[in-house]
């Protein structure tokens, strides 16, 4: 305000004041949003650092905090946390690698070849993308039971891979479509075979989208709760999400701090990855969904 020339009209002054007031209001609204967003997250973090058995009187004061819950998760003989971690990691690695490979084949075919049934295939994928696997849960439960894959990590893996194909294929196909065709055509002229063009020319160029797909499919089992809930039965087969839920579900108030500790350990790395890749993830998803 100090640099305003004295002879400015009153109207000018008020406009500037009004602008300041507006910015103030915006900051105020954002501050409220910040509190609403941060409070539950901070509360959960504080819970994870508390060891009192009565959690609802637990302290939010950092002076009383300790790492006991984390230590319990990793060292206590009754803790299954490491087993769950191993299960989840196993599922994640298999799902991520198989999905990326299958999907890049499918996407390559749809993007670069014109073959009979291509259009219908694309429509089928588009349609199947709309139906979550979850909708067939009655059938999945009975079918897995029949073939003996209930309470088995391979059953879970199969469903993750199959269910993810349509959506991931569209993401990758959208990316392949943006790569110039002249590249593979000139390679074809030079006598390169189908597989060679694919592996040596297109795959390296598609690395960004493939790593996103791989990462996405790697993280999904860490975050998914429903499918493990349907498929898995015994605690030693649980994945992290399901195991943590059972902490809370079994004896609500007793184990909440352990849930919180376990949850913090998953949420922090995943949230970091999301925040780093957010721009790419959101725009990638957007283009995948609209380009079809």
């Amino acid at each position: 305000m100090t640099d305003t020339p004295k002879k400015k009209s009153k109207k000018q002054m008020t406009r500037k004041q009004r602008s300041r007031f507006e910015v103030g209001v915006i900051y105020f609204i954002l501050a409220i949003m910040f509190i609403i967003i941060a409070y539950p997250l901070f509360w959960a973090f504080a819970m994870s650092m508390n060891t009192t058995s009565n959690l609802y009187s637990a302290s939010l004061n950092p002076a009383d905090w300790s790492f006991d819950n984390f230590v319990w998760l990793f060292t206590h003989p009754r803790s299954n946390y490491l087993i769950w971690y191993r299960n989840t990691l196993f599922v994640s690695v298999v799902v991520s690698s198989v999905t990326t490979l299958t999907v890049s084949f499918v996407a390559y075919a749809f993007s670069r070849y014109r073959f009979k049934g291509r259009k219908n295939g694309l429509y089928a994928f588009l349609l199947l993308q709309m139906f979550p696997v979850l909708m067939a849960m009655v059938a999945l439960f009975i079918l897995l039971n029949l073939v003996g894959l209930l309470d088995n990590l391979w059953g879970l893996i199969l469903i993750y891979i199959g269910g993810g194909i349509p959506m991931n294929a569209f993401l990758v196909k959208g990316y392949f479509d943006t790569l110039p065709r002249s590249l593979d055509e000139s390679a074809k002229m030079d006598g390169a075979g189908h597989f060679r063009i694919f592996f040596q020319i297109l795959l390296p160029l598609a690395k960004p989208i493939l790593s996103v797909v791989a990462l996405f499919n790697f993280m999904a089992p860490f975050m998914d709760f429903i499918l493990p809930r349907i498929v898995l039965r015994s605690p030693e087969n649980f994945t992290l999400a399901l195991g943590l839920y059972n902490f809370v579900n079994a004896q609500f108030s007793n184990n909440f701090s352990r849930f919180a500790a376990g949850a913090v350990l998953i949420a922090v790395p995943i949230a970091t990855v999301y925040l780093i890749l957010q721009k790419y993830l959101i725009s990638g998803l957007a283009s995948g969904a609209t380009k079809g």
Binding site: V103, S253, Q278
Partner: protein, 438 residues
Amino acid sequence: MADNDNQIKPSQTRTEDLNHSPKKAMLLSIIPGMGQIYNKRKLKGIAIFIIFAAFAVVSIEFVVSGLQGLVTLGNEPRVDDSRVFLVEGILAMIFAIFYASLYWINLQDAKNEAQKIRDGWTPGGVIENFKNSWDTAFPYVLIGPGFLLLIFVVILPLLFMGFLAFTNYNLYNAPPRNLLQWVGFDNFTRLLTLAEWRQTFISVLSWTLTWTFVATTLQIALGMFLAVLTNDKRLKGKKLIRTVLILPWAVPGFVTIIIFSALFNDNFGAINLDIMQPLFNTTIPWMTNVMWSRIAIIAIQVWLGFPYVYALFSGVLQGISDDWYEAADMDGASRWQKFRNITFPHLMFATGPLLLTQYTFNFNNFNIIYLFNEGGPAVRGQNAGGTDILISWVFSLTFTNSQFSMAAAISLILGVIVATFAFFQFRRSRSFKEEGTM
């Protein structure tokens, strides 16, 4: 070898035909491979014949008995498992369809090649032919593994569910102890006419639709409001603001929902103890009263869902040229007018289909309903909880009540609703395709 000789003979007699007839090739191909031999592609014809013959020998029994089993669903209780009969029947159907389409392709191929020969094309040598067929087959080789997985993991369960909806599979009539019967539309009629079922169905369906509409619209509105707000040029520290606002999207949903369900706990939750009690001197039964549960769930979903919309909208807003707004300023447009006529249409045009997916997502948003209070609280006179949406109702019918057929019937209704949604999105993306991406 004797077989081969038999096949070569007819082709040799027909080489004398002056006008090579596509129709004849197609008719000959009724026995697969014959038309190709007529087209002077002996090796190909023999290969096709052998493949078809082998396929028929191996699978004909499976297909026939499978289809039979699909009709009867087994004869002897405890010996025949109707569920196995159903699965085998569906597999037999898929096999039969696959076989039929191969057969059709074989007919078409014979016809097309004969047509080409008639127009003066001569098939090249064996190696060249082989290379050509590898070229045509290659895309199928590529999509093969993915397609197989899709058939077994997605399509087979969906079909199985569809069939299940027309049987009487429940706790009291469960294979392998009992046999299943086809009951036609009984499950659907019961759902719509029996008082208890109908009441539950109607209340769950209406809550599902309300929930989808209200929660999604609110999260879009909040996302839009914040995006417009933070797009203001006078703000500082935008990067930090954006990061914090996207945070709820980055934290795994199941974690936050469980945290919220603890915060909303009636007796010990921080919301009642720290906010409601001191400020309003009252507590609210978030978990045990239907209306308050619904309000809490919608609020949590808005918290969870707005960041994605916000991030999308922020991206679009940054791309809108300033010229629009400057022109509007010249005309003396008010802020609201600028929003209505410039910002809003831009946002909707760029993100329309994605917003539609948000609605379908919430329609099937099982996570939040189940993790908050497992669809509760219980409601008198109906077998679904007060916040149960269709998909979570299906879940409890399957896993707690073992009402498998009814659950399948409701899933089918769910599927029809989603398909209707899909149809609209389908048309949208088709118009995208016609612009050249396809």
